[in-house]
């Protein structure tokens, strides 16, 4: 068994005093790729937001360890500097902030050192061509007026520059056309390495056919109700989640 990277124990999270996560337990080892699936509103984004430290998502109970350290009380920027990266389901736009300067600031913030403009340009160019992003793109304002697919590509561009230790990809596939999905997933595969762990949140098996998880978890109503291997993806794709509800009912009836 690989070294623990992310360990979540009995995590309870509330938004505006409503409990959304009701005791999540999850263990992710170094170098592993996990998929997290579950119906709409089951708490997937809540979990990723809570891991990243969104102030609105209050952790009322439980703990989150990253490489052995409890990160529950850390601010999002501290977590980022530890190497935790969240690709947003709905990336925000920040009018007036140019992508170029944003990315450069991000780079020096997370890597803890200034990078020269020339050097940065070079790295950026390389990553952009990998993702099939046009050069003119960097002059635009961050996510401002971006199409859904452009936003998602931009998230992965950030991931490529960020070089995370733990990547949380929240529905990166939604909004991408078939070709874009392929390009983006290929890039993700290039970024993923044995030194980092990845959680992929998705509704569809398509993305998981490109980026193959070793573990699959299913979350329902704020709890992880089932964990297994890739075979779960196939079952969900063909049967949805109803059978799990039945199963859960049966269990509680015991």
């Amino acid at each position: 068994m690989s070294e623990d990277f992310l360990v979540i124990e009995d995590l309870h999270v509330s938004v505006e005093s409503k409990e959304i996560l009701k005791g999540v337990n999850l263990r992710i080892g170094k170098g592993e790729v996990h998929a997290l699936m579950g119906p709409n509103g089951s708490g997937k984004s809540t979990l990723s937001n809570a891991i990243m430290g969104h102030p609105k998502y209050r952790i009322t109970q439980g703990s989150i360890y990253f490489k052995g350290e409890n990160i529950v009380d850390m601010t999002p920027d501290e977590k980022a500097r530890k190497g935790i990266f969240l690709a947003f389901q709905y990336p925000l736009s920040i009018p007036g902030v140019r992508i170029f300067s944003f990315l450069k600031n991000m780079m020096s913030a997370v890597h803890g050192k200034e990078i020269s403009v020339a050097e940065f340009r070079k790295v950026l160019k390389e990553k952009m061509s990998l993702l099939g992003i046009k050069q003119s793109f960097i002059k635009r304002y961050l996510n401002d007026g971006f199409s859904g697919g452009e936003k998602k590509r931009n998230e992965i561009l950030q991931m490529a520059l960020f070089e995370p230790k733990l990547a949380l990809l929240d529905e990166t596939d939604s909004g991408l056309d078939v070709t874009a999905l392929k390009v983006v997933c290929e890039s993700i595969n290039k970024i993923i390495n044995p030194e980092m762990s990845t959680i992929i949140i998705t509704h569809y098996k398509r993305m998981l056919e490109y980026v193959r998880p070793q573990f699959v978890h299913i979350i329902m109503d704020g709890r992880i109700v089932k964990s297994g291997g890739e075979e779960l993806v196939e079952i969900i794709d063909s049967q949805g989640y109803d059978w799990l509800k039945q199963e859960a009912l049966a269990t509680s009836a015991l």
Partner: protein
């Protein structure tokens, strides 16, 4: 006043040395006829008409009431008798770097203002000796007939031009502070662009550091003859420091037929300064005037750049930002008077307030009878950084002509969003860095109009303001 122009620097030094016999002169505190007389006759040896103009202005100043808008509370704290109305440069010589308030020093350090220029603050003038570049630019412009000098020199060397236009756009009767400036003005820039001449590079005036009372009543007059164009930038790459409390400038612009003037200001006063400035432009047929106005610092700023569109097809644009922080009130705005057909105007005002700072937009759009087919568009955006900050908008529209006229006003007030902050912080930016980035993004429509070095500087000033290291 210490106007250092990168063009016309020689004139400036000349003026400086010229006054050597009175090197250590400081008028007594308070304002009266004797002092005005002394400034005009004894100190400056001005022509009689200017002395008369000053004396009359003093009377007008006395008869005018204080403005009843802006911050009447702060204004009532202003003690006109506790101000030195004229100080000649020797004061600077007596000054030590040690006398400079800690805050300002820090700013200088962080801005990386070279030691040489700091010395200027202490009264050493030699630091510009190396700036030969400026001289060559000046020669180039001089050949074209462009005049760019300080106002005192202009009065001596171009008396007819000055007399013809001085005080015609903003007469002393305009308001109390215009009257005050008219009585005690000193320094400022004088610019005259001959017909058809287009000055490609911006003319720049740096109000580096105002030692006590110097440069607090500057007077600027720009005349662009038909078909000419000019971009004038005044301001600070460094904060303008004044140990005393009042800065009251008058700026007059005249754009003749088909001429274009852009006037850019970036001000960053220390937080004990009352900044009460009157700025107005006349734009004749097919002329364009643009005010680009950035206000940081000060205790109270009251400034409403105006454009009077007097000829058919004239256009006025006013783009401003104001940032108010602890105990500061930025009461800024814009005025456009449409007095001719087919005139157009655009006002974009952006205000940022934090830490109990108060930002006010006060604007007037007036469409006079006969100004058919005039168009005006006003956009006011306010960004509030915390609960204690305040922002108000007072737009006034007076539309006295209907035919083909459109007047639009949009206003938004926003707070820095929690989601945006989370997004940026999740990329490793600290809370302050994330907020600064959002603020810089907010003012980007302004910044992108500035020359590169000013834009960089402004972003840096904002960053310092956000970090709370500048008062």
């Amino acid at each position: 006043m210490t106007v250092v122009q990168n063009v016309g620097i020689d004139d400036y030094k000349y003026g400086f040395h010229d006054s050597e016999e009175n090197y250590a002169y400081k008028a007594k505190k308070g304002l009266n006829k004797e002092i005005v007389q002394e400034i005009s006759v004894k100190m400056k040896n001005e022509p009689q008409w200017m002395t008369d103009f000053r004396m009359k202005s003093l009377e007008i100043f006395r008869s005018k009431p204080m403005p009843d808008w802006g911050s009447t509370e702060m204004l009532s704290d202003l003690d006109f008798e506790n101000i030195h109305y004229y100080v000649r440069s020797a004061e600077k010589q007596g000054r030590n770097w040690e006398d400079v308030p800690e805050e300002i020093k820090k700013t200088f350090d962080r801005l990386g203002i070279p030691e040489a220029e700091r010395k200027f603050l202490a009264g050493v003038t030699a630091q510009y000796e190396s700036d030969v570049v400026y001289h060559s630019i000046r020669e180039d412009l001089t050949k074209l007939g462009v005049i760019f000098t300080d106002m005192d020199t202009a009065l001596r060397e171009y008396p007819d031009l000055v007399k013809k236009y001085f005080g015609t756009i903003i007469p002393p009767t305009d308001n109390k502070f215009a009257a005050l400036n008219s009585a005690v003005w000193s320094g400022g820039s004088f610019v005259w662009i001959p017909p058809g001449v287009k000055v490609e590079i911006p003319l720049q005036a740096y109000f580096r550091i105002n030692t006590e009372n110097m440069g607090q009543f500057e007077r600027t007059l720009i005349i662009a003859e038909p078909g000419s164009s000019v971009h004038y930038i005044e301001g600070c790459t460094a904060p303008t420091y004044s140990s005393d409390s009042l800065h009251s400038a008058v700026v007059e612009l005249i754009a003749m037929e088909g001429a274009k003037i852009r006037y850019t200001t970036i001000q960053n006063w220390s937080n004990n300064v009352y900044n009460l400035v009157t700025k107005r432009a006349y734009a004749y047929k097919n002329a364009t005037v643009e005010w680009i106005d950035g206000n940081l610092g000060s205790k109270l700023t009251m400034k409403y750049p105006a454009v009077h569109l007097l000829g058919e097809g004239a256009r006025g644009e006013i783009l401003s930002i104001a940032m108010s922080s602890t105990n500061q009130h930025q009461d800024a705005g814009a005025k456009i008077i449409h007095a001719a057909p087919n005139t157009s105007s655009l006002i974009t005002s952006k205000s940022i307030s934090k830490n109990n700072g108060r930002g006010t937009y006060r604007g007037l759009i007036k469409i006079l009878p006969g100004a058919i087919n005039s168009k005006s568009h006003v956009v006011c955006d306010a960004l509030i950084l915390d609960e204690s900050a305040r922002s108000d908008t007072y737009p006034t529209m007076q539309v006295e002509e209907q035919e083909g006229v459109t007047v639009e006003h949009e206003a938004t007030v926003s707070k820095v969003g929690e989601e945006q902050m989370f997004y940026l912080m999740s990329r490793g930016l600290t809370e302050v860095a994330a907020k600064t980035m959002i603020v810089n993004g907010f003012v980007e429509p302004f910044t992108k109009e500035l020359p590169m070095e000013y834009a960089v500087e402004l972003n840096r000033l904002i960053q310092m303001e956000m970090e709370g290291s500048v008062g």
